[in-house]
Amino acid sequence: MANYIVRRLLWGIVILILVSLIVFFAIRMVPGDPLTLFVSRTQESGFSFTKAQLDALRRRFGLDKPVIVQYVDWISNMLRGDLGESIYYRQDVAKLIKERLPVTLYLGIIGFLLSLTVGTTAGLLAGMRRATWIDNIIVVISYIGIAIPVFWLGYLLIFAFGLKLRILPIGGYTSPFEDFWYSLRQIIMPVICMVLPGIAGMARQMRSSYLEVAGQDYIRTAWAKGLTEKAVVMKHILKNSLIPIVTLLGMSIGGIFGGSVLVENVFAIPGMGRFLVQGIFQQDYVIMQANTFLMAVMIILSNLIVDISYGWFDPRIRYD
């Protein structure tokens, strides 16, 4: 077990290094340096830099150094918690992200917990009552949930509850510590948008893995013992059918961050996703770099936790 954890952690570090390389070089794959993008964007708005100004900027952002040195600098600064200075805002990116990350995490964690609980329960119910109307409804909703563009769903909700019924605010974000009830009303629609695909995916996976497990020989053995349906489902089927769900957890955290990009833009929520899109519009490579890397780090870390907790669910892994 200890061996397994250590091996996982080591691979986790390798993958983090690869992720940092992807982010770093993706931004530098265009001809010239990352500043060229920013400059061309500002030129569109009618402002141009002189050669001297550009050189000054390059020195300021360390772009005059060799690429390898830049990478090492970036990583070592990152490890110290220094995410660099934003070209556009001329502010510390760590500070900017510190304001936005909690917002995304707040919505994300609510969304994650909801999609986990609602999704698995729905999937379980559908599996247990296979081919009944409950099952059919859950299956149809989950197909729609996977196919629906969340930004469009956001507009539908805004149209219905914000503009026509006028019962929910159409966007924005208020900290729950400031005004709890308003904040709650504000996040209802974004959270629905954020969780629907997650719930749908989770329900589908849970249903199919429930059915898969329910058809196993050892479940027949359990029935043959004369156990009640509750005992068979709760003790014998549930734990087995949760194993594939555990794998899905890591991915659903990725889905939450992916969803936040769209949902935060629909509802004008000042979180990481909106920050990333703004960073791309402003062609602020420092923000793009820090933001995507942080998202990937959080996803990889949660995958790591998932991998390690796997052993608890599946005894067959523990002794590998």
């Binding site: 992807i22 197909y143 507009y155 996976q205 992916g258 990009v261």
Partner: protein
């Protein structure tokens, strides 16, 4: 119970092989569920619309007509017009073209590139395998849309850039699939025998791996297509990747926001198209999986 059912199935299958051909069986299982037929119809309609967009659309999608600005749906403009008087129906018809081109091109590119990498990783093994597969793990660390955003943001606007961005984001699935397939075939004694009689490595690869991976590949492509179209819509909605001259469903939804209370059709209609098409591709993917290889249920 299931074991018995499987048993019965086996018996029935083994007995009916003589009377029903594989193809008939495939078609029968595929069209058995009405929703799959519905999905096939939607997909067919979308493909036809995309191909014949210039003839089908009543107006030029970019034609401005200020006299007809912000029309509600009427006889002349079935789905109304936007602020500049552009006909919504025509724009949706042309949007089908963009969605399908991006979707299909991305799918093919990522399938070809991904499977090549996967076969390489599986066949070479060792360091090559480790590098390729860990790199794929790292790519999987990003949500698809975030990776695509980053790449499209750096590459700048343009359809081919969106295709490149989405292709990279879609690589890992195919690479993993083909790597696994290659490893499985490599373990096979049959291949060892082939090696013994001295046929070339590349030939061995193609002769044995490709036919085996055909089914899972088809299923994966049809399921991935929905996800790609959804991601493209998301990118266009955010206004990143495709330029404003190209008509996209995502872009149409985004530009409908300002008129949501007065002209909801501007945002509703294109979004519904995205949903229907993605829904249909997902259903088709599942239908194909059930018809081709029910054992893959839950795996893909």
């Amino acid at each position: 119970m299931a074991d018995t059912i499987a048993n019965i199935d086996q018996i029935v299958q083994s007995q009916s092989r003589a009377t029903v051909s594989e193809w008939q069986r495939f078609v029968r299982t595929l069209t058995q569920r009405k929703v799959v037929v519905f999905a096939l119809i939607i997909i067919a309609l979308t493909v036809i619309t995309a191909i014949f967009a210039p003839w089908l659309s009543p107006y030029d999608p970019n034609e401005k007509n200020f006299a007809d600005s912000l029309q509600q749906p009427n006889r002349k403009h079935w789905l109304g017009t936007d602020l500049l008087g552009k006909d919504t129906l025509s724009r949706i018809i042309w949007g089908a073209r963009t969605s399908l081109i991006v979707g299909i091109a991305t799918c093919l590119a990522s399938a070809i590139l991904g499977s090549t990498l996967g076969m390489l990783a599986g066949y070479m093994g060792g360091v090559v395998n480790t590098i390729i597969m860990r790199f794929m793990d790292a790519l999987m660390g990003f949500p698809m849309i975030v990776l695509a955003l980053l790449l499209a943001g750096v590459l700048g606007n343009g359809m081919q850039n969106v295709i490149i961005a989405l292709t990279v984001a879609n690589l890992p699935g195919y690479t993993r699939l083909m790597c696994g397939m290659t490893l499985a075939v490599k373990e096979n004694d049959y291949i060892l025998a082939q090696k013994a009689i001295g046929s070339s490595n590349l030939r061995t690869l193609f002769l044995h791996i490709l036919p085996n991976s055909f089914q899972p590949m088809i299923i994966m492509i049809s399921t991935a297509l929905g996800g790609i179209i959804l991601a493209e819509a998301g990118l266009s909605f955010l206004g990143i990747g495709l330029s404003h001259e190209e008509v996209t469903w995502g872009g149409l939804v985004a530009s409908g926001y300002s008129y949501l209370s007065t002209h909801p059709m501007l945002a509703f209609a294109p979004g519904l198209c995205v949903m229907l098409v993605v829904f249909s591709f997902n259903i088709l993917g599942d239908g194909l999986r059930d018809a081709l290889d029910p054992r893959l249920r839950g795996v893909l």
